[in-house]
């Protein structure tokens, strides 16, 4: 593989991890609805135990997403995390609260009470998808930063600067970032509802979940379609591959999908799968496997969007402060040696996915019910 191919390959892997992360945010989606899905205290505990058997995967995928970005595109890691400090910190705080809440909430002596930890789960269930979705939206909307590598030889050698004092919270003032963030939030809710319907053997919870599916779907579709139209119509950040010069190109993202027709197909197949899974779940009283087509559809859709942000000579992390500081996969990636070495490591991923599927299959062989949470093996 040439250096350019390796860059494309790593953008694919990072996009795949990002898509998996959005898919696995069914944990956050279900947690954000824990009160209305669970109904009473026992029902809430069932829902939490259902997501509680999977939360580590979402968490691990987030960490691996960060690690993979660090290894493959260190300039993004440096610029975004160091610059959009507050945005990432709020995301991290919410995930820290989530990590302890499962284990602590129903334990004797938890000091803060079960409801506090359930509140933390709801908080993470809302903040996680909205803010991570918002962070992804900045791939299209841009962020306010400057990169100047020559600073390294100056008295103040920091190369990446955020060009305003809000350090990332400014992204939330952009309505399009919020539209995308809330689209991801309602998508996570749809995934959460479908996951709980599939994973929990309780008619009351399934019935409540089914009722909430319609509202979340309408909200998601409105936000998602609005953003998609905006994305196709907006100017984008293109890069001239020979010189590395960044310039504004009208309808850049629409062009990307037209130039890379396979991404358009992926996007359309993804959207159709999402709609199929939701509609069939709403229509049929007995269909509880909607999480599978919707999950696959989400994976395809998010993957297509993320790939369109970086491939086809596009700046995936555009700078609104200094156009030429925008990050492209070519100017922000690791060296050829590192990308190649890590590409060998990435061959282990199918094996990892295989053992996860085996383990999940074993754990989920029997649906979770109210009897199981009375044992000592429940949160």
């Amino acid at each position: 593989m040439s250096y350019e191919m390796l860059q494309q390959y790593w953008w694919f892997l990072v996009s795949l991890l990002g898509a998996l992360l959005v898919l696995l945010m069914f944990v956050q989606g279900a947690n954000s609805l824990v009160g209305s899905l669970g109904g009473d205290a026992e029902g809430r505990r069932v829902v939490i135990n259902s997501t509680g058997r999977k939360w580590e995967f979402t968490f691990t995928t987030l960490v691996t997403f960060g690690g993979a970005f660090f290894a493959s595109f260190p300039l993004f890691y440096s610029t975004s995390f160091g610059g959009a400090y507050w945005l990432w910190m709020v995301i991290l705080f919410s995930f820290v609260l989530q990590a302890v809440s499962y284990e602590f909430q129903n334990k004797l002596g938890n000091l803060l009470g079960a409801r506090t930890f359930q509140f933390f789960l709801v908080l993470n269930g809302i903040l996680g998808p909205v803010l991570l979705g918002g962070a992804v939206a900045t791939f299209f909307e841009g962020s306010n930063f400057i990169v100047e590598k020559d600073n390294l030889t100056g008295m103040q050698p920091v190369i990446s600067q955020w060009a305003n004092a809000s350090h990332g919270l400014d992204a939330l003032l952009n309505p399009w970032v919020l539209v995308f963030g809330f689209a991801v939030f309602f998508l996570a809710r749809i995934l959460g509802i479908l996951y709980v319907m599939n994973n929990v053997d309780d008619e009351d919870i399934r019935s409540r979940a089914s009722m909430r599916l319609v509202g979340s779907t309408i909200a998601f579709l409105l936000l998602f379609v609005t953003y998609l139209v905006h994305l196709f119509l907006k100017d984008g950040y293109a890069v001239e591959p020979a010189t590395g010069e960044i310039y504004i190109e009208p309808y850049k993202y629409l062009h990307n999908f037209l130039d890379m027709w396979y991404l358009l197909v992926l996007l359309l197949v993804g959207v159709v799968l999402v709609l199929y899974g939701i509609v069939r779940t709403i229509i049929s009283k007995t269909y509880i496997d909607g999480i599978w087509p919707v999950g696959l559809g989400v994976l395809f859709t998010v993957l297509a969007l993320l790939l369109s942000a970086g491939w086809n000579n596009t700046a995936y992390y555009p700078s609104t402060a200094d156009l030429q500081s925008s990050l492209t996969i070519a100017n922000s990636c690791s060296s050829e040696f590192t990308l190649r070495t890590m590409a060998y490591v990435s061959l282990i991923i199918p094996f990892v996915i295989a053992y996860i599927m085996v383990a999940w299959n074993k754990i989920d062989s029997k649906k979770l019910d109210k009897e199981e949470i009375k044992t000592d093996e429940a949160y």
Partner: protein, 526 residues
């Protein structure tokens, strides 16, 4: 344009250091217990798998419950550590991200998924998977945690001893040229064994301490005796192992970080036949006047021991702080530059890099460009010194290194003795009827073991100062450009958050211990 926002204040650097130290210290409260208990509960479940006696299953489940309470906090603090490299040390993340990012990514792909997959099976799979699959899951959870330790220690070792990389003036960063040198660095290997083995000690002390508490209360005797037996064997083997790997680590530090060793020893002027300080009265709050060779009022030393530790030779040469600052000649005739010379050469490297970049921008190429590149290459080993303003910045804070090292070694030796005594009572006497002081001392050893474990990290990290990457990048050139108030606020949020969660965890842990194991067959409990 490049300098419009450059206003890094010293306060921000200190808050960033404090925040990272806080997160790391908290993280290291939970990780060693995870690594250590993984061995204990793995052994117990293996006993269950082999004998099918319900007692072993109940015992394994009991320790797994405590493992689970602790595990969540390790995960929560771990994610912060990884992202803080980006949020607070963004310049570092660019300057060496090409090398440093790889172990973190591998850790995620190889270790974290293994850990998170099988920990779920371990907790929730007793009735859903076969005994063999469950046993494998328990061990794989521990293995995942241990592999995670390997990669993060590879990353840390690289910060102490950067190998396998070259600076690229085109990209303005260091780039990996040998993955094997990074992943199998001798410092990483030493660090891994010393750190993981010391974590097993924590798991062993915890097991013995909890069990002795049961004996003091006259309950759960069978669980206590069997747990003490396993814990003490693991503990003794690990303590001896930690001593041996500790010696190897100290030897390696002497080779690649002589200033750290000099600070650990409060050795101001070195030489051959150096003695090892057992204890000395050094003011813990003030940097000693090493320039004037200010001797502490009391110092007890073991002759030749430092030379043996540092060189494996009783007559070996060990440089002191002043030697390192002023330059020295080794017995074999080789010389080490003074700090002043290194600073000058570092400035030459930075200036050559600036000229190279400017000329390339303006002229595109030419002989002058090659000349600047030559100067850069010749002086690159001292690049980081170019950011140093005064040679005194190169001396870590001696008292912390000095005392932390002694606490670690002292408690480590005490632990060997402790586990020997416990095993003596287990095998030659009756641990149930052992004197109460032994049971109480087991409980007292737990905080001591934690202090020793944290002290080890204090030595490793304070001893590296002022460098983030040894000789390559000091802390003030590694940071993000943030306001100190932002980092101060997040520091206090983390402090409150972690402390509250620690209090919750401890309370839950104590209640769980008080509650004790749940037996399938109550006759097993006595």
């Amino acid at each position: 344009m490049s300098n419009i926002l450059l206003s890094i204040d010293a306060g921000m650097i200190e808050w960033s250091r404090a925040q990272f130290a806080l997160t790391a210290i908290y993280h290291w409260l939970f990780v060693p217990l995870t690594l250590g208990l993984a061995v204990v509960m793995g052994v117990m479940e293996t006993c269950y798998y082999r004998t099918r006696k319900p007692f072993w299953k109940d015992a394994a489940k009991f320790w797994q419950k405590l493992f689970g309470i602790n595990f969540a906090m390790g995960v929560a603090t771990g994610i912060i550590l990884e992202f803080e490299f980006g949020t607070n040390w963004s310049n570092y993340s660019w300057f060496v991200g090409d090398i440093f990012g790889a172990p973190l990514a591998i850790e995620g792909i190889v270790a974290f998924f293994m850990e998170s997959t099988f920990v779920a099976v371990m907790f929730f799979g007793w009735k859903k998977v076969s005994a063999g699959f469950h046993l494998a899951s328990t061990w794989l959870t521990g293995l995942g945690a241990t592999i995670s330790a390997w990669w993060i220690l590879v990353a840390n070792a690289w910060m102490q001893y950067p190998v396998g990389c070259e600076f690229n003036p085109e990209t303005m960063r260091n780039e990996m040229v040998s993955f094997a040198e990074v992943a199998l660095s001798p410092l990483a290997i030493d660090k891994f064994f010393h750190t993981v083995i010391s974590a097993w000690i924590i798991g062993a002390v915890f097991t013995v301490a909890v069990s002795c508490w049961y004996l003091l209360k006259g309950r759960e005797k069978k669980l206590a005796v069997e747990s003490i037996r396993i814990g003490a064997i693991v503990g003794l083997v690990a303590s001896v192992g930690a001593a041996l790997t500790g010696h190897q680590s100290a030897y390696r530090v002497a080779q690649v970080q002589p200033m750290k060793l000099a600070a650990m020893e409060a050795l101001y002027n070195g030489g051959t036949d150096q003695s090892l300080t057992g204890i000395a009265l050094i003011n813990p709050f003030v940097q000693p006047d090493y320039e004037n060779d200010e001797e502490p009022p009391m110092r007890i030393a073991v002759p030749y021991a430092l030379s043996i530790l540092a060189t494996n030779n009783p007559h070996g040469y060990v440089p002191g702080i002043n030697d390192i600052l002023n330059g020295y000649t080794r017995p074999d005739g080789t010389t080490e530059l003074s700090a002043g010379e290194k600073i000058e050469r570092g400035k030459l490297a930075i200036s050559a890099l600036a000229s190279y970049r400017q000329m390339k921008r303006e002229y595109g190429g030419g002989a002058m460009l090659k000349e600047q590149l030559k100067v850069l290459k010749e002086n690159m080993p001292y690049f980081g010194y170019g950011y140093i303003h005064d040679k005194s910045e190169l001396v870590p804070f001696v008292p912390i290194n000095f005392y932390a090292f002694r606490v670690m070694v002292g408690v480590g030796c005490l632990l060997i003795l402790f586990f020997m005594v416990v095993l003596f009572f287990v095998y030659k006497k009756d641990i149930v009827a052992a004197p109460k002081w032994l049971h109480w001392s087991a409980i007292a050893m737990l905080p001591l073991a934690y202090i020793a474990s944290e002290s080890g990290w204090l030595v490793a990290e304070f001893g590296r100062q002022p460098w983030t990457i040894q000789d390559m990048l000091p802390t003030w050139a590694s940071v993000s450009n943030l306001h100190s108030s932002s980092v101060m606020i997040t520091f206090f949020i983390f402090l409150v958050l972690f402390t509250t969660m620690l209090a919750v965890e401890l309370n839950i842990m104590l209640k769980q211990i008080k509650k004790g194991p749940e037996y399938e067959n109550m006759n097993e409990s006595v």
